[in-house]
């Protein structure tokens, strides 16, 4: 880490670049949350290998989930763009990218709630229902946290708290957001695609 210490005249206030303590803290959060989702998905597959495809109460439709996946991926792209703009001191683009990320995250949540309403089963009716609602519910909770993080970072961006050197919070929120997207890809693949692949 010493080689990363920048040569500055004045003492820095807060972290510089993105490899701050907060960044490493986020990495450990991601590790624990990744383990959580790995075991939730393992539980799904465990039920599946025992009960077979008849266990799936209703093959999930892709009409809402596929566009929703695209929306989440797009939001990741915008957040990534915002982060790279922050590194180049383009404040306006940075705020716009974060704002679009927040909006797309909220749209994802809305569509996800729509999809939940359409399900003929509940969290308590079958083990499939439990698995589905717990896994997607945990993911939605993570999306909510991610949206709040992005909103906070957006607010701070608008207040001019960041520049090209001091932008660790943006990177921390962004890496969490990418992680949430990646988890969604795994959930989407598991719940929505594997029933069709077999």
């Amino acid at each position: 880490m010493s080689d990363a210490a920048p040569r500055m005249m004045a003492l820095p206030v807060g972290s510089i670049g993105h490899k701050s303590f907060g960044w490493w803290g986020m990495m450990t959060v991601i590790m624990t949350e990744a383990s959580l989702f790995a075991y939730l998905l393992f539980a799904y597959f465990y039920f599946l290998v025992h009960y077979g495809h008849g266990w799936i109460a209703e093959k999930p439709g892709l009409a809402l989930a596929a566009p929703n996946t695209a929306i989440l991926l797009l939001s990741s792209l915008f957040v990534w763009w915002a982060e790279s703009c922050a590194a180049r001191d383009r404040r306006g683009a940075q705020a716009v990218g974060l704002a679009i990320g927040v909006v797309l995250g909220v749209i994802f949540l809305a569509i996800q709630i729509l999809e939940w309403r359409e399900k003929p089963f509940t969290i308590a009716s079958t083990s499939y229902g439990s698995s589905y609602f717990i896994t997607t519910g945990f993911h939605m909770a993570h999306v909510v946290v991610g949206v709040l993080m992005l909103a906070a970072v957006l607010l701070w961006s608008l207040l001019g708290y960041f520049d090209s050197r001091r932008r660790a919070p943006i990177s921390i929120a962004a890496v969490y957001w990418h992680f949430v997207d990646l988890v969604w890809l795994a959930i989407f693949f598991t719940f929505y695609l594997t029933p069709y692949i077999g």
Binding site: F42, Y46, V49, H50, G198
Partner: protein, 411 residues
């Protein structure tokens, strides 16, 4: 990473047909055509041409890797193994966890790229290689390796691979290439651009955890998930479910051992590295100490600051006894006018203080501080500074030797 990408592409051009064609060549009669091993042979030739270092071990590793690849994909053993689910799983593991790291350790891509570079320069393949300059960061390679491993074990895709030889070839090629990239990250020489040992350990252990999950599922399943040839299983006295459980266990336990072995090897390398670093640092410390000693010796020789040495020289010159000198100082009463450390009552403020006399440059403001001058001054100060404050105290030559011996101990 750019370099790794082009190397991977070069190796893919060579190796993939070798691994993949094995299955295309395996028709319904389950025996391969003679030319199926040709790509492997070509790779061996390219390696022989490109391998520059005269090291023995990489060559042995390469030959072993090629032989095991042949054994796992082309040999009669392979043809037999694919009828049983468990042996088929073992075949995949050999390909991913033994052949790939062996070929990585033998620096196959480097050698092959060196042999092929002139040819590649002249063909449109060069553009292909440039096009395929993907951002192959360790994260991407990790994701590709674990995702491919998990996805191909979905029963539907596995069945598709068994039905269609092209899909099967794709399966094996993707297994092999992702494994090759995976082990390239793990075994890359340490540098600023590659992962450190800690990150590599995490890279391996996390992949091992994920790769264990499908194996656990397959082993724990209570019903057959895969289309298993019941006759082939029965020939070994296994039911299809037992064959499947065995396959899951093979994937879970021996597969896990390969990762653990790699992690332990990395730990060992890490410990060695830190040990040699520590040793170097220690040697550096020793060198620094030596330098300080040398410096002080040099300073001493210059006569600037080395009272110890001066004192040592003073004694033979004065030939006096410091203890007697101290007694003489007390008896004569020098302390009435001088402040002299170590002598009782010597706190006079008339003359200059004599503390650190061994380090002072001048005596009486005009004589260089040498033993001879000191003795002369002590015996006959009025001759040197007539009318000065320092009176003649009737000090004998012997007393002056003892007194100056004492004064030179004050540093």
């Amino acid at each position: 990473m750019r370099k790794l990408t082009s190397l991977l592409c070069a190796s893919a051009c060579l190796l993939t047909p070798g691994v993949a064609q094995a299955h295309v060549a395996l028709g319904p009669e389950q025996h391969h055509t003679p030319y199926a091993a040709l790509p492997l042979l070509l790779l061996a030739l390219a390696y022989a041409r490109g391998q520059r270092r005269n090291a023995l071990w990489p060559r042995i590793g390469f030959l072993l890797g090629i032989f095991l690849t042949w054994l796992a994909t082309l040999s009669p053993v392979a043809a037999f193994s694919e009828r049983l689910f468990s042996t088929h799983m073992a075949q995949h593991l050999v390909l991913m966890l033994i052949c790939a790291p062996l070929l990585v350790a033998a620096q196959t891509t480097k050698a092959a790229a060196r042999a092929l570079a002139p040819a590649l320069e002249r063909t449109p393949l060069r553009r292909l290689v440039a096009l395929a300059d993907l951002p192959l960061t360790p994260v991407v390679i990790w994701l590709a390796f674990t995702c491919l491993f998990v996805i191909w074990h979905l029963p539907g895709l596995y069945a598709a691979a068994l039905r269609d030889e092209t899909v099967h070839a794709l399966e094996h090629a993707s297994f092999f290439l992702s494994a090759y990239a995976f082990w390239s990250v793990v075994m890359a020489p340490q540098s600023r651009r590659t992962l450190g040992y800690g990150a590599r350990l995490f890279f391996i252990v996390s992949a091992a955890l994920i790769s264990g999950l499908p194996g656990a599922l397959i082993a724990l399943s209570s019903r057959p998930l895969y289309a298993i040839d019941p006759q082939a299983a029965a020939r070994l006295g296994l039911t299809p479910l037992e064959d499947q459980q065995l396959a899951g266990l093979v994937m879970w336990i021996p597969g896990g051992f390969a990762y653990i072995a790699a992690a332990l090897a990395l730990l060992l390398a890490w410990l060695r590295q830190s040990e040699s670093l520590a040793r170097r640092r220690q040697r550096g410390d020793g060198r620094a100490l030596f330098a300080v000693a040398l410096l002080s010796l040099t300073l001493a020789a210059c006569g600037e600051t080395a009272p110890q040495i001066r004192g040592a020289q003073a004694n033979p010159v004065t030939g006096g006894d410091p203890r007697k000198g101290a007694e003489a100082i007390a008896a004569i009463g020098c302390g009435a006018c001088h402040t002299i450390p170590g002598v009782n009552g010597a706190v006079g403020l008339v003359g200059p203080p004599l503390d650190r006399m061994g380090r002072r440059i001048y005596i009486a403001g005009l004589l260089r501080n040498t033993p001879e001058n000191m003795e002369a001054w002590l015996q006959d100060p009025q001759k040197i500074v007539p009318g000065g404050v320092m009176p003649d105290m009737g000090i004998s030559a012997e007393q002056s030797r003892d007194i100056s011996a004492y004064l030179y101990t004050l540093r």
